[in-house]
């Protein structure tokens, strides 16, 4: 719209940082309070998860450090037996809820990120291949995707969980649980990536830069991954953000169904599962703090995804 009829004289390019700060993307961020607030909370939570060992008052994963008599201490009030006091109280095992949340968030975020990465890897690859190759390959991939999409994610996850539990040697099950969670969520979540990437690839494939690459005999592999892939990443980024929130929730749900992280190394979801058992018994803090953390985390990530969707869609501006 603002194209000049005559080529503009070149200006000296400003520094990379300056340009990034100046870009429409950054500008839209700086002018969206919601985006900034949610980015703040996301960063805060992610950082506190990463630095959990420094921030946490105890290591809830070290059984030797726990004192069962500290169990069910209310937030801020000293325990009747031990006299110890905890910011967010303790759970049934006498674990400090605050520390457990920090460590639990680590697991939730790790599972979330890894699962999304896995889903992205599978989905983007299959989507690219389907979109670029077309033909029966596309039919096969997309039909599988359809069935997968209609096949409830929880069922898929439970199925994978069941199989993995069966084939894993017993002694590795505890460590495996987290990887199985990642696999389960990742495998049930790839479809939307594949669909979006395929759609975008179909559009990109017809563009002339692809033909320019074909003209010089670049391989299909190089064209899909070097040329097309970078151009289909914006919607992928949006989906990845939303998926991250979904994966964290999915992890919680799977934990609720009893196929999640082990209680000795609780994730946020496991904490909520444990905590919901104390909803009627008056120990509200065991449920409340993890639930609020999960809500804030998922909400921030979702809001960030919302903003990204708008900011990355050029027509939305």
């Amino acid at each position: 719209m603002t194209e000049m009829p005559v080529d503009r004289p070149d200006v000296i390019p400003p520094s990379r940082l300056r340009r990034a700060w100046d870009s429409d993307f950054a500008w839209s961020f700086r002018h969206s309070p919601v985006a900034m607030v949610s980015a703040f909370f996301t960063a805060l939570l992610v950082l506190s998860a990463v630095f959990a060992p420094l921030l946490a008052t105890t290591n809830p994963y070290d059984p030797a450090s726990l004192n069962l008599m500290n169990g069910f201490t209310a937030p801020g009030t000293p325990n009747a037996f031990t006299g110890e006091s905890f910011l967010m109280g303790t759970d049934d095992q006498g674990r400090d809820v605050f520390s457990t949340i920090l460590y639990g968030m680590r697991i939730s975020l790790f599972v979330g990120f890894a699962a999304v990465l896995l889903a992205m890897l599978i989905g983007v690859t299959l989507g690219l291949v389907a979109g670029y190759r077309g033909g029966w390959v596309e039919t096969l991939i997309m039909r599988t995707a359809d069935v997968q999409l209609t096949f409830p994610a929880i069922l898929v996850a439970m199925l994978i969980f069941g199989i993995a539990k069966g084939v894993t040697p017993v002694e590795y099950r505890d460590q495996m649980a987290i990887w199985v969670l990642i696999l389960a969520i990742g495998l049930s979540d790839w479809v939307q990536f594949a669909r979006v990437v395929r759609g975008a690839t179909l559009v990109e494939r017809k563009k002339e830069y692809v033909q320019a690459a074909q003209l010089i005999g670049r391989s299909g592999f190089a064209i899909t991954f070097r040329h097309i892939l970078p151009n289909v990443l914006s919607p992928v980024l949006v989906i990845a953000t939303i998926s991250l929130a979904l994966a964290i929730i999915a992890e919680a749900t799977l934990s609720f169904l009893g196929v999640g992280a082990p209680p000795t190394q609780p994730s946020l979801g496991t904490l909520i599962r444990i905590g919901q058992g104390f909803l009627f018994s008056g120990e509200w803090w065991i449920l409340f703090f993890p639930a609020v953390t999960l809500l804030v985390l998922a909400l921030s990530v979702n809001l960030l995804g919302d903003w990204l969707r708008d900011a990355l869609n050029p027509r939305m501006r």
Partner: protein
């Protein structure tokens, strides 16, 4: 040669398209079924649940052989399919009754719940989606958008528990579990015809529908904004059509085309998500049946449930395809 290629009143293209889809879906579902069946081996061992505390190893071996559990799972799967084709889904290990009967008893509860939550999700999803699209950027729209996100930022089971806590325990307004009183219409038991049945539907259907509603709402909003940017909307404005006609006739119909696919698939996952809602609300549907079946390793029930879900999905996919043909003239010619 048969004159199949010429345009017929019912386009053979549509029929062959649908047939192809059904065929493909069934094929993939059979494979998924096989994988699922192989899972049953790992869910646990039904034997301990079927025999009491005083069982012996010989009892275990005998029952195992009797149930065919000593066979490799492809054999078990094939036998299951063979029987299923003849309408025989076997006998529940736990209840000792034909699985088909059990499913038929339980299906109405799940279907009614899915129907109500699907309706809520679609209705409010579309209404709020249109609202947030048309009022984009206003405080009200932003509030709806943000609040709706809470629906996808908390796990379903927690929302259910919180709803029970607030509306059943603290306020004592709505029942905390179950379907209330039901009325039998033939083999179909319905909760629609009694006051307590309707009251019992409220919390579970909100719990189940909230997530889908949020998704549909956001999808409708995105699509609507996209459609509102189209030339034909600008042209409609240029012709002086009223906003109402433009928004609710021209824009909405175009918005619904992509929404239908996703919504169709979402309705499918409502039935799947019902597992969790039914567990929380003790809703006597097939989802609860499935969870119980897992707990007791009731393999015939699990297998039949997966088949039922699969068939439902094929059907939903088919309906979505047909709707597509109905709504989009470009596919018809």
């Amino acid at each position: 040669m048969l004159d199949l290629a010429s345009p017929a009143p019912h386009d053979p293209r549509m029929i062959s398209f649908i047939l192809r889809r059904v065929f493909q879906s069934i094929l993939v579902l059979l494979i998924v079924g096989l994988v699922a069946f192989s899972m049953f081996t790992f869910v646990g061992d039904p034997i301990d649940n079927m025999l009491g505390q005083e069982r012996t190893d010989a009892d275990i071996a005998r029952l195992r052989a009797q149930l065919g559990l000593d066979q490799p799972f492809p054999v078990q799967y094939f036998r299951f399919l063979e029987n299923a084709v003849q309408g025989n889904f076997g006998i529940s290990y736990r209840q000792g009754r034909p699985v088909a009967d059990i499913l038929l008893e339980r299906a109405p509860a799940t279907l009614e719940l899915a129907f109500v939550s699907g309706f809520l999700a679609i209705f409010f999803g579309i209404v709020l989606g249109v609202f947030t699209a048309l009022r984009r950027g206003t405080v009200a729209a932003n509030a709806v958008m943000t609040i709706s996100l809470i629906g996808v930022s908390l796990p379903t089971f927690l929302i259910g528990i919180l709803l029970i806590y607030v509306f059943s325990v603290e306020l004592d307004l709505l029942p905390s579990f179950g379907r209330g009183d039901t009325v039998n219409l033939g083999w179909w038991s319905t909760g629609f015809l009694t006051w307590s049945g309707l009251k019992a539907l409220i919390l579970p259907s909100i719990t189940l529908g909230l997530y889908q509603m949020t998704l549909i709402m956001r999808l409708v909003r995105t699509e609507m904004l996209e459609v509102l940017r189209q030339d034909y909307i600008r042209f409609a404005r240029a012709r002086g059509l009223r906003d109402r006609a433009i928004h609710f006739r021209h824009a909405l119909k175009n918005t619904l085309v992509p929404v239908i696919t996703v919504t169709g698939l979402q309705l499918g996952s409502i039935i799947a998500f019902a597992i969790i809602t039914e567990t929380v609300f003790q809703w006597p549907g097939v989802g609860l049946l499935f969870i119980n079946a897992i707990q007791f390793v009731d393999i015939p029930v699990m297998a039949a449930y997966l088949m039922l879900i699969s068939v439902m999905f094929v059907a939903i996919n088919l309906i979505v395809d047909l709707l597509y043909f109905a709504i989009d003239p470009r596919l018809r010619t």
